[in-house]
Amino acid sequence: MAAVRLRTKQERTKDNRRFTKTEKREDVEEGQFVQAVERMKAGDKQGLKEIYQAYIGYIYSIVYQIIQNKENAEDVTSEFFLRLWERAGQYKTESGGHRGYLAAIARNMSIDFLRKSGREQLVDTGEEDVEPDDKTAGRLSVEQEVIEELSMQEALERLEVKEREIVHLKIMGELTFREIAGILHMPMGTVTWKYKNALEKLRRCGYHE
């Protein structure tokens, strides 16, 4: 392989910045979100209710995927909205899209919950501990399984936990791969690859993009 000196790290960083700027989509709902936050700051519960109605499914699923227990997931989700109410003043529009912001808070709160309840290892040691057979089942489903129609729940059970998280953030959060990589602390290449794998598995279960 002929080694050619190309761009320095600084140049790459510049490139990435330029890229991030162009990648940012114009989110029409961002304005609505900011308005709701402003109302919350003024003590108007309606602002919180609007956010709740728009994002309860999105947030609850993020929390549930990590905690894996309905009751606890409900507790953490409620706590999430209460915290959002209390800290409405801390939201900054320039910090990126609000969906990514919400997802990051929900994830952190869920991981904190597990940490406090002594179940940290369950998350940190990987998905294998949560669902030992999922990974193998997932791989088999891509390689061997014939196309079959399954319910959404059954189809999602064929995905790895991380794949499910990525699919959720992509579909419900409409986040970019870069944003997802930031939230999940994973390299972007891995995120795109896992998403592609997940889509392939779902396609085999009868779901198309």
């Binding site: 050619v4 790459r12 890229f19 709740y52 609850y60 779901y207």
Partner: protein, 257 residues
Amino acid sequence: MSKNLENEYKEYIRTETPDMWERIEKSLPEREAVWEEKQEAGDKRAEKSKSRQKNNEVRGRKRTAKFYARIGGSLAAAILVLVVAAPVLKNQLFSGGQSKSNSESSFTMNAADEACEEAVQTAGSTGSMAEVQDTDGVEGFEEAQEAFDEAVKDEPEQEAGAEVNAEEAAESPKEAVSEIGLVSLELTISRIEENEAGEAVYFAESETGESCSFVLAEDAFVEEEILQEGGILQGKRYAVELEKGEEGYRAVAVRKK
């Protein structure tokens, strides 16, 4: 019959999510009370920190004035030494080859000695001044360093890293080039696998049939079009910039071919 993933998924999430609004709404008044208490406490804390900040500002101004006064003093002393010593030393130098009377030369020597002694004394005193000043200078530097660190803290990590690299490059350009040295190749992705760290490992082949594998660097630049297509795909050809690390190649940029 195939179903639309997005619609089905959204519907599934909608049906699976419990309604928690009543529960949240009930907790809001309690939270408001707690929040108000917290805010009051926060206001008090803010007032305290304000007065502390004012005191610090005044103290800082006094310290700066003191610092400049000391610098001025030591500079004046140094200039005085130069003014006194320079003509004497000059005389001594130029009179070196000329014949002079003993008394004259002894006078010159004495004068030079005196000047030297004076210079040494003054230097000694400025030295001690410098010591004092130094300790103050260290304090000042530390303060400045703290302020700078705080200012820099807000900058993105990447940039800080880039600056460090630039410094390293300035120190040893040859090494830096070899460290930064990248390989640019057109590669066809033959397969993608997951490594132990859960990263995607891309196995690829070059035009000449050479094969290699790489992972994506965390700050890798991936072209927008590639992302829109669903990431780096098997069987596709890309222009890849590879960087060799301890654990093999890492792609720092991937573009469409």
